[in-house]
Symmetry: C2
Subunit: 213 residues, 2 copies
DNA sequence: TAGATTGTTAATCGATTAACAATC
DNA sequence: TAGATTGTTAATCGATTAACAATC
């Protein structure tokens, strides 16, 4: 039993599997608001447009969360997924860059609802520093070091212009940030200990024009 | 020769290949601003953190765009990619939903810079209809049918609350929209002729906490 | 018990990569 | 010519899926 757990822990779980867990979690939350106590891999798959086998296979990397004949407890599986993803406590996040995107991010309430609290907003433009963005006073990006050393912040959302993104990312990493959600439309080159995820809406539109056009 | 082209056209190109073309295009644009006339699969791969073989393989689905010994013309390859993706003319896009995200999208200049023009903004909230969002007057979503029939609009960005997303998507599809970029944190069930892409920043943050946490 | 659904195995399917002849 | 890099092939690698014994 303990051996099994250890063996499981040794295996490196594919990123593609990890990336689907939050999607399952999102669907389970929705099921819960609809008052659904149990679900099955089949039902979940129908909601998500994937196969039941994929869901069961994905979950099997982490343990056995279901019951034959019954399926999964909606609430129970959520708890397991939150444990796996380390979403039990709220995570602080900083926003760097206060253009249109940065301001929108800073004011978006959807983060706090799902476990991430924007705690500060930074920019390097002297005109913007000290100004108000939503409930935040924009801080000088030069103060990131001091700010991050005060509290253990690991996540940053990066919304600076493309040509500044790499150097700002380097600065953030130097100061202890190791998870960057990059809204700037450029690839970032970072050490392997740092995780980077990308959001660029134009990419999605362009992909769709391939078959629409 | 003609036979080869026909054979190529018959093959169904994997979505994952299509999804990388805009990334290549984005890098080539950046190279061009830096005054670089030529590049190679090796250099491009180094910029993007992928392998040179992958880039060559991806491009080989569509034709032969490089020269042995020399590589690719930065400008020439951009043109080929724009042709493939149907990005030669500007595409009109509508925004549906004018919360924080919708407003930010409507005001974001990054779309027009890369070939997509936001032409109208819709909502179903009577309080919002008629109000100003950036340069747009918010229209009643009930007018989508009339608006879309006037000009051939295929793309919509959907930023309504999660529980309204499916029904609004259905309405858009009924009126001729067949590419939806969905910002609402729910899976949409749509006919196969309709393409849906998803953006949910929280998903990315949650994925990163798996290993950061 | 009978029906349902799990977790897992093995087969299938598809994507990535290394290697190299062709050639600029 | 010599060096560099392509496009393509074949091998490898990894992900998805179907099927089913186990069992609630």
């Amino acid at each position: 039993m303990i051996l099994e757990i250890m063996q499981r822990a040794e295996k490196r779980i594919p990123h593609i599997v990890i990336s689907r867990l939050p999607v399952y979690l999102r669907a389970l939350r929705l099921m819960e608001t609809q008052g659904k106590p149990y679900t099955s891999s089949q039902e979940l798959a129908a909601w998500l447009g994937c196969t039941p086998a994929q869901i069961r296979k994905d979950l099997s990397h982490f343990g056995e969360f279901g019951k034959q004949g019954t399926g999964y407890s909606v609430n129970g599986l959520q708890k397991h997924l939150r444990n796996i993803l380390h979403l039990n406590s709220e995570w602080p996040v900083i926003v760097v860059g206060t253009g249109h995107i940065g301001s929108a991010i800073a004011n978006y309430t959807g983060f706090a609802e799902r476990g991430f609290r924007v705690v500060a907003v930074f920019d390097n433009d002297p005109i913007k520093i000290g100004s108000q963005v939503g409930q935040f006073v924009v801080r000088d990006v030069a103060e990131v070091a001091a700010f991050v050393s005060e509290q253990p912040i690991r996540h940053a959302m990066l919304s600076v212009p493309a040509d500044a993104a790499q150097s700002v990312a380097d600065l953030l990493i130097k100061n202890g940030i190791n998870a960057i959600l990059n809204y700037a439309p450029v690839h970032l080159t970072c050490p392997p200990s740092v995780q980077v995820e990308y959001i660029d809406p134009v990419l999605h539109l362009q992909v769709m024009t391939y078959s629409v056009g």
